[in-house]
Amino acid sequence: MQTDIIIAGVGGQGILSIAACIGMAALKSNLHLKQSEVHGMSQRGGAVQSNMRISDRMILSDLIPQGSANLIMSVEPMEALRYLPWLSADGWIVTNTTPVKNIKDYPDISGIMTELRSVRNNVIIDADSIARRTGSLRTSNMVMLGAASPYTGIEYSLLEDAVRDIFKRKGEDVVELNLKALKAGKDYFNNKQ
């Protein structure tokens, strides 16, 4: 098996914690993993992405070739569209709906939604509202991960273990809150099917 994932967002939205969860789960599954990140200038509110490659064989390239990503997971709707050239013919887009309008010419959101809906395989999810309902807006990332989890090629229970491991330092309450958000995302996906 091989899963190529692009995680997209805006610098400061914390896409690296999503990547860390998937990474840890992949490692526990004894899979090979490459996780390319953006550090430096773009982290100041610019467009950022992480290329994640998970495989049962050795992977050499840190970067995903165009036309071969199985999943684009974006925590911001316009950013989901930026990586379309990398999406494979049967790949999925899973995106949050809340725009980050830190540029003057941010386009009309309805136009962005039209573009997103025109992608054959799309899951458009108001992760922020779901996160707020489950307890904290800050767990919106985990809602996204839950909603996209069926496309990661990784067993859901291993993602739960990874969330426990990664948030352990921050206390049991934070772990529970994030697990709840992860499950809320997964439930959203299940109900949509």
Binding site: G11, L27, H32, L33, E37, V38, E79, L81, P85
Partner: protein, 533 residues
């Protein structure tokens, strides 16, 4: 032992900690910063003491690491590619003095300029200084090469460079650590004048460096990092350097190409292995991440030599980093693209964080300087370089670390008034202080605006060399204390700040205005930590 998930940068750091390194010296710079940070954050994991503090700049870092090597200990200096320009003087000469304890210079290049002013290729520096260069293709190689590099350095008593690029520096993968080595015991150089580069001694040592070149080529030929794999299709042979090898194998979906392939991970170039390609193949495709240095060496002259393909004949783009698609294209392989980016998608460049003190500093400066005419603000490398973007359009230059002060001085000497420079506190102590001394000595009429956020902000908030001592340094350099002003860049102080800057703009001498407010990112982190304690 358990596998570790490490960035390329972290793999090198970890390699150093496990390979008996006694000290690491660096100045922050993307994409090299995480090397030092890993050692600092995992200090307790190290066996024994490892010195791990930021230096004022790359030159002081390199020299301190050389001094540690002088005592017989293993040391490492880390920097980004343009940092090696700052450290070029000790670097070139360290190849002549040689080293004592193992010495590794780690340079992180940034092709495509993700966070840099240029995309220079440090392998040229390695060739220039005539020292071995190692170029890993993955995190495990990066880790292993630290052990190998220290040994090679001690075998030839030469500095060894490890050259990485952004994609490896900032990509995470599993690394299997090796057994930890003990640190070297102290032992001064056996030759008491080894490090004394008086002309007579330097000439002797330089001849020694020349004499050892043949052996370094033999090392490369036998190196575990240089692999020749023969293939039946001799219509073309492929030489793939560093990360380019990964993209080559990606293009073949993980399988070995049917053409002969030479993977290069150690320089100087192994002539015999290269000959196995150039001597048997009709055409040679050179794939390298960075400048076409190997391609140039193979082509000789003229550039039109038909047999060699690479960046110089347009087979691959002359600039920018490689990726799987570019390499597949150069191999003549079809690749599928997903849908194009819809035209509705707008660029999202980096911007100041909400609440950043630099915003208020620029707003005050823009109002103060309004009326003098455009083109009077020289600036520097840091977060405040974002002042060049909309809506501020507040700065006119960004060249290299420290150039704001010296360029403003030159312009002032030519009669431009006011001549303002905007520089950060960390950049000021890195390379601004000497320029300020020039300005003081020549009484050049400049206004130095120091955006003091008390950290090295752009790289993520590392310790700044002289936090809280900037005005003392300026006074010590000779700036008239009456013209050293400290302002608090906040909206509520705007009018007062404009007045202060205005007065200093009118002054026909050296004046310094320090706009001091803690970096908002660092402040938030600090408050979080204080709360959790």
């Amino acid at each position: 032992m358990d596998k570790l998930m490490l960035l390329g940068d972290e793999a090198i750091a970890r390699g150093g900690m496990d390979a008996g390194m006694s000290g690491i010296y660096a100045y922050p710079g993307t994409p090299s910063t995480e090397i030092m940070e890993y050692v600092q954050n995992n200090f307790s994991a190290a066996a024994g003491n490892i010195f791990c503090q930021w230096s004022a700049n790359e030159k002081t870092a390199f020299e301190a690491a050389l001094g540690m090597s002088y005592t017989g200990k293993r040391s490492m200096a880390c920097m980004k590619h343009v940092g090696l320009n700052v450290a070029a003087d000790p670097f070139m000469n360290a190849a002549i003095t040689g080293v004592n304890g193992g010495f590794l210079l780690v340079v992180a290049d940034d092709p495509s300029m993700h966070s840099s002013q240029n995309e220079q290729d440090s392998r040229y520096y390695g060739k220039f200084a005539m020292i071995p260069v190692l170029e890993p293709i993955n995190q495990q190689e990066a880790y292993d090469m630290v052990f190998y590099g220290f040994e090679l350095s001690e075998k030839y008593k030469l500095p060894v460079m490890i050259r990485i690029t952004t994609r490896l520096a900032h990509s995470r993968s599993a690394v299997m650590p090796a057994a930890q080595l003990k640190q070297n015991v102290t032992g001064l150089p056996s030759d008491p004048v080894q490090f004394v580069l008086l002309p007579g001694i330097a000439r002797r040592r330089y001849r020694g460096l020349l004499d050892v070149q043949k052996e370094l080529v033999t090392e490369s030929a036998n190196s575990p990092w240089n692999n020749f794999t023969d293939g039946s299709d001799k219509s073309a042979g492929i030489i793939a350097c560093g990360l380019a090898y990964n993209y080559l194998i990606e293009a073949y979906r993980g399988k070995q190409p049917t053409n002969p392939v030479l993977k290069i991970g150690q320089y100087p170039l192994p002539e015999d292995l290269v000959g196995k390609i150039t001597g048997t193949c009709e055409r040679v495709l050179v794939l390298e991440e960075g400048y076409p240095i190997v391609e140039e060496m193979l082509r000789g002259f003229p550039v039109t030599s038909a047999k060699i393909s690479g960046r110089m004949d347009g087979t691959l783009p002359r600039d920018g980093e490689l990726n799987p698609d570019i390499v597949a294209g150069a191999l003549g392989m079809p690749f599928e693209k997903g849908p194009a980016i819809p035209s509705i998608v707008k660029n999202r460049p980096p911007s100041f964080c909400a609440g950043c003190g630099h915003i208020d500093m620029f707003n005050a400066l823009l109002q103060s300087i309004d009326g003098y005419g455009p083109g009077r603000v020289f600036s520097d490398i840091g977060c405040y370089t974002l002042g060049a973007l909309e809506p501020y359009n507040a700065i006119n230059t960004c060249v290299d670390m420290g150039a704001s002060i010296t360029m403003a001085k030159g312009a002032a000497d030519a009669g431009l008034h006011p001549s303002v420079c905007v520089i950060g506190d960390s950049t000021f102590t890195h390379s601004g202080m000497t320029g300020l001394l020039d300005a003081v000595n020549d009484r050049s009429a400049i206004t130095v605006l120091i955006g003091d956020n008390s950290t090295t902000g752009m790289t993520g908030g590392q310790k700044s060399s002289a936090t809280g001592r900037i005005e003392d340094i300026c006074a010590g350099i000779g700036v008239d204390p009456d013209h050293i002003k400290v302002i608090n860049p906040l909206k509520k102080h705007h009018d007062e700040n404009v007045k202060i800057i205005n007065r200093e703009l009118e002054y026909r001498g050296v004046s310094v205005v320090i706009a001091r407010r803690e970096c908002i990112q660092v402040a938030m982190r600090r408050k979080k930590e204080e709360k959790s304690r």
